[in-house]
C-alpha cells in the first residue's frame, strides 16, 4: 500500500512538473484529479451552486497562474485545498457582513433547497420520513450557518472531507492545536443547537 502511495505521489509530482513546463494535458489531468473534491468542498461549505462554481473556477485559475511558484514545500493536495478553503472563507466572511439569504427558497410546493437541483439524488424515503428528515436537515443547515467562518471551515474539512487536524492546520496556515480548538468550538455549538433533535 505504501509502495502504491509512493508511486501515486511520484506520478503526481511528474504531472506537476510537466504542467509547470507548460504541458496543458498534464494540467488537465491534475484538474481532473482534484476538481470533484474541490467542487464538493465548495458546495458543502457555501451551500450555493453559483458560489461553488465561482470558487471552483477561481481555485483552478489560481493554480494555473501560480503553478510555477509551487515548490513542493507541502503536498499539492494541501496547496490546492489551501487556495480553495481561503476562497470559501472569503465568501463566508462576505456573507456574514451581507447577511445573505438561505439557500432554501419557498415555492408553491413548499421549501426547496436550491442545492438539490445540482446534487446527486438520494433514494426516496416515505413521505412521513421525508417530512421529518426535511425538518432535521433544515435545523442542521441553520446550525452550520451559525458557525463562524473559521469554525465552519475546520468542521467541513474534518467532517466532510475527512482531513486530519494536522492537515487542516497546514491547509489553513495554523497549528494543529488551533485547528483542534476550532473544531471543538464548532462541535459544541452544533451540540447545543441540535441536542434536542437526537
Amino acid at each position: 500500500m505504501r509502495v502504491a502511495n509512493y508511486q501515486a505521489h511520484a506520478d503526481e509530482n511528474a504531472l506537476i512538473r510537466a504542467a509547470q513546463g507548460g504541458d496543458g494535458v498534464a494540467f488537465e489531468q491534475l484538474v481532473r484529479s482534484y476538481d470533484q473534491s474541490i467542487l464538493r468542498l465548495a458546495m458543502n461549505m457555501l451551500r450555493s451552486p453559483e458560489d461553488a462554481r465561482d470558487v471552483y473556477q477561481e481555485t483552478f485559475l489560481r493554480v494555473y497562474r501560480n503553478l510555477n511558484n509551487f515548490r513542493f514545500d507541502c503536498s499539492f493536495h494541501t496547496w490546492i485545498y489551501r487556495i480553495a478553503t481561503n476562497l470559501c472563507l472569503d465568501q463566508l466572511r462576505k456573507r456574514k457582513v451581507r447577511k445573505e439569504e438561505s439557500p432554501v427558497v419557498m415555492t408553491p410546493d413548499g421549501a426547496v433547497d436550491r442545492l438539490d437541483s445540482v446534487a446527486e439524488q438520494r433514494p426516496d424515503l416515505d413521505p412521513q420520513k421525508q417530512l421529518l428528515s426535511g425538518q432535521i436537515r433544515r435545523r442542521v443547515k441553520a446550525a452550520l450557518a451559525e458557525l463562524s467562518p473559521r469554525e465552519r471551515t475546520v468542521f467541513e474539512l474534518r467532517h466532510y472531507e475527512g482531513l486530519r487536524l494536522r492537515n487542516i492546520g497546514e491547509t489553513l496556515g495554523t497549528t494543529e492545536e488551533a485547528a483542534k480548538n476550532c473544531l471543538f468550538r464548532a462541535t459544541q455549538k452544533m451540540r447545543l443547537a441540535l441536542g434536542d433533535l437526537v
Binding site: L39, N181, F184
Partner: protein
Amino acid sequence: MSNPMNSDAMRVNPGEMRVNCDAVRDQLALLLYGELNFDEEERADQHIDACTACRSALEQQKALHAAVDDIAVTPSPALLASCRENLFETLDLQAQSLADRRVASSAGTHAMTHETTHGTTHGTTTESWWSQVLSSFEGRWNASWLRPAGAFALLAIGFMAARVVPYVDKGGGANYSAMDLANLGATQVRNVQEDANGRVNIVLNETKQRTVSGNMQDAMIRNLLMAAAKGSSDPGLRAETVTILVNGAVSSDVRDALVFALENDQNTVVRWRAMEGLKSYAHDPSVQTALASVLQHDVNPGMRTQAIDLLTSGTGSAMDRQVIGVLQEMVSREDDTREDNTYIRQRAQRMLEAVKASAGVY
C-alpha cells in the same frame, strides 16, 4: 465548556463523577473523529464503559454526526462537467489573449488596454472583451469545429441582444439600449430571477475596454505600464510590459519598476527582461543591490550567471560596499553545489581583486 486539551479533567475519580461526565461529553465529538491523543482516548473509553449516561450521550453524538452526514452534498456529474467546461474555456481564452498580446506587441503597438468591470455580482474572473471575441472564433484547444460555431454564436448574441435589450427594465435598474450592448461586446447572463409581479431581473457580467495611447514620455502611459508590470496576474502581459518599460529606463521611476520586477517577479522571463533592460544602469546603486540579490536568491542559474556578469563588467570600480560583501560571500560558499557556482566564484574573485577587496567576508 471545558478545555478539550485539559487531560487532568479527564481523570476518573468517583468523587468527581459529575466533572468527569462533563469533560467526557465535551470530548465526544473529538473521540468520534479520532482526534484525541492516546491517553485522552483511553480515559474517555474507560469512563464511557463505566457510565451509562455518557454511553447514551455518545449515541446521541453519533446520531448528530449522522444528521450532519445527511445534508452532505455531492455535486452532480452534470454540474462538474459544466464547471470543467467553463474552466477550460477560460484557460483557452487566457492562452489566446496572451498570444494576441504577443502578436500586437511584435507589431510595435504600444497601446495600453484598460479594462473595467461592472454589473458583476458573483464573478471572480473577468476576461478582456477582445480576447473573448477572438476566442469565440478560435475555439478551444483541439476543438477547431467550434470556430464556426463561435462565429455563429456571436452573430446570434448580437441578433438577440438587439431584440431583448430594449425591454430590460428602464424604471430603476440598469438602463441598456441595444447600442450599449453592442458596444459592450461581451455580455454574459449570470443569473435570472422573476419576482411576484412578473418583473424579470437579469444579472449580467459585463466587460468593456478602452484604449489609451501615448509614448513613454507620457506620465499616464508610464504609470499604467508600471502598474501592469507590478500588479498584473498575467505573466505574459508583465513580460511584454517590462519589455516596453525598458525603453523608458532613463527615468528613475521606470528603473525602480524594473528593479522591482527583477527582484520580485515570479516569472523568469519577466525577471530576465527586466535585467536586460537594466544592463546599461549597472553602475546605479539600486541596480547593483538588485543584481546582488539575484546572485544570492534567484532560483534560475541563467539569471545568476547574467547577474554576476553585469556586476563584474558594468560597475567598474564604483562598487557598492554591500555588493562587495555579497561577492565575498559567494566566493566563500564552497559548499554551494549549484552548477553555476564555480563560474560565479571565479568571476566574483576576479572582481574583488579588481576593486582591491579581500576575498574573505568582512
